[in-house]
Amino acid sequence: MAVFKQQASKKVPNLKIGVIRWLRENLFSNAVNSVLTLLALYLIYLIVPTVANWALFDATFAPVTNEQCGREGACWRYIIEKLDLFIYGFYPPEAYWRPQWVVILALAFVWIAKLLKQHKYKTKIVTALIIIYPIIASFLLYGGPSLEIIETHKWGGLMLTIVAATVGIVASFPMGVLLALGRQSKMPIIRFLSVVYIEFIRGVPLITILFMASVVLPLFFNEGMDMDKLLRALIGIILFQSVYIAEVIRGGLQAIPKGQYEAADAMGLSFVQKTGLIILPQALKISIPNIVGSFIALFKDTTLLLIIGLFDILSMVHLTSSDENWLGRSTEGYVFVMVVMWIILYSMSRYSKVLELRYSTDHRN
């Protein structure tokens, strides 16, 4: 009778575990993939060393003048030198605390809202904060009684970008909701007006609206009676953005099963109750990714302010690189703006993921 002898176990062949297996499965699983992988590696080889040399190894960080920086690598000193302009524009340095407090207050208010959790007055307090905040923020930024007025032509840089984007986002949202509801309305006049407005603005590029606001509108005014340029641009942005939000929300409204409307009617809810308690919460939840998507698009669109002579962060690059002491450094400026934009926009898209998860009621599983 054969006796079972335990044999020493063999090692798993290298090709089936670890790095090599991963490589085989993911990068070289067949001929096409192998070619693509090699191609990608070659591209990386072409690009990365050049960029790294320029941005890091040949770059200058020391406090030197433009000439001492040389033309081989990046001159990051230029960014440091112009940082205040990139962030605040022409806002007077002694008043930098004002935009800083606007940001601090925003964070504080969000934190308070978080702390309240299920407090019984939560909705009321949050509503109050939402109404009070823009008033405080605009008072701090612009000034008013007992605070020196800083006119909007001095606003610029990242501050202007954020102001334009935030105002656009915050003001366009309620308008968008109303327009979306208007388009679904059973009242013909409201529906007609909403459709005309939405289709008209959607058929026009933002750049045209901004031109209209900056070049054509002033001609209608009497000489001397001029409306703030930033305000004109902001109104243009809000008009534009609300239409896109309206269409995104309409998509959400149409995704709600008819049964939901009927059930709400069967319970005897009024139109306001039905819309506010049943339909909108579901429609908005479905639309979150698209709403955030169009907010991200708006944030990028604010760089169009450049063409009407407002100095957002992108046009600051143009202005600061035309300083004769820092000529030829626009590449560094554009790279800097790219990094700042990416950080902000990526955070926005991550936040949209968080929101989606928080409000997920998972119909999918």
Partner: protein, 336 residues
């Protein structure tokens, strides 16, 4: 046309002409306490900002001079950065009191837009930058060369005209921005770069080795740049014109911001500084208007040197912009 619409159009006409007839820009500026001045949103040497956001440049100095003359303080200027498309609307609508945005003085602009050009603060012109290794010293030797230039500007048209009229041929390599055409020049895509001369100097300093290129003396177009005001307010037109003339005349008399307080013998200099005569009365300004310009902004040479001339990396030579007695064409009518 019925009577109602005729009336409407008539009343609109009356309204617009009424605005022009009553225009009192000086009064408005003094009531506001600041001068709204339209400048370029970033043009090397003409209008840009330093690292703390203070505006500087040759165009900016004209704004400051007018503010010094009318308000007694060169810093009381609200700079309104404008794009090329916006500039004329901004002036027409009254958003700005004065436009100093490297605007070329042409017949069309002077006659059809309702504007007046109050003089010339910089004589620019289209020129060439070539590689030193080519060994070229004159534009006439550029037959058959390839040119980098900015597409969609009048540059290309001027270049074509010049080569046709001289019976020569050329190839062009257009790109979208001046930075791109500089890249093309630097990488050897073309033999020469053509653009306005003031910009050529700026582009040259950004080359890896600026000494490898030279800017030719030849200029193939006239681009006189100057301050612009609305038609119909002659008083304001005079003030801007003579503020600019003050800077030029001050250089001629050897008055600058450092010695403006010393005694001068030249009777014309004394009239300029308001120490004799009453030139200021006709302009409706304070007796010290010219003194304020010179002491706060300086004369033309000072402005030129610190913005685009020998004290800057641009090192643009005075050329046409030298005084008439130094071989240029800068000339102020006499102060008397």
């Amino acid at each position: 046309m019925n009577t109602t619409s005729k009336n409407i159009i008539l009343s609109l006409l009356v309204l617009t002409s009424g605005i022009y007839a009553q225009a009192d820009t000086l009064g408005d500026v003094q009531a506001k306490g600041s001068l709204s001045c339209g400048v370029s949103s970033g043009l090397v040497g003409f209008s840009s900002t330093d690292s703390v956001g203070r505006w500087k440049g040759l165009d900016v100095d004209v704004c400051r001079a007018v503010a010094a003359a009318t308000l007694g303080d060169a810093n009381k200027v609200k700079f309104v950065p404008l794009t090329a498309k916006e500039r004329f609307t901004a002036l027409q609508s009254g958003e700005i009191d004065l436009l100093v945005r490297n605007t070329t003085w042409t017949t069309t602009r002077d006659t059809s837009l309702g504007f007046n050009f109050a003089g010339v603060n910089y004589y620019d012109g289209q020129g060439f930058m070539v590689k030193k290794s080519l060994g070229v010293t004159s534009a006439k030797e550029l037959d058959g060369a390839t040119f980098c230039l900015q597409a969609g500007t009048t540059t290309e048209l001027t270049l074509a005209d010049y080569f046709i009229s001289n019976g020569m041929s050329y190839k062009s390599s257009p790109s979208d921005t001046s930075a791109q055409s500089k890249k093309g020049f630097a990488t050897g895509r073309c033999d020469a770069l053509t653009s306005d001369q003031s910009q050529l100097y700026a582009l040259k300093t950004t080359l890896k080795d600026p000494s490898s290129a030279i800017i030719l003396k030849d200029i193939i177009s006239k681009e006189p740049l100057g301050p612009v005001v609305r038609q119909g307010d002659d008083k304001w037109f005079n003030i801007v014109k003579w503020s600019l003339n003050t800077m030029i005349a001050a250089e001629e008399f050897g008055i600058n911001s450092n010695n403006v307080n010393t005694k001068f013998k030249n009777p014309e200099a004394l009239r300029l500084l308001g120490r004799s005569g009453n030139l200021h009365k006709h302009l409706g300004l304070d007796k010290k208007w010219a003194f304020n310009i010179i002491s706060q902004v300086g004369n033309y040479a000072q402005s030129f040197d610190r913005n685009i001339g020998k004290d800057t990396p641009l090192k643009i030579s005075r050329g046409l912009n030298a005084l008439w007695r130094d071989g240029g064409i800068l000339y102020s009518p006499p102060f008397r």
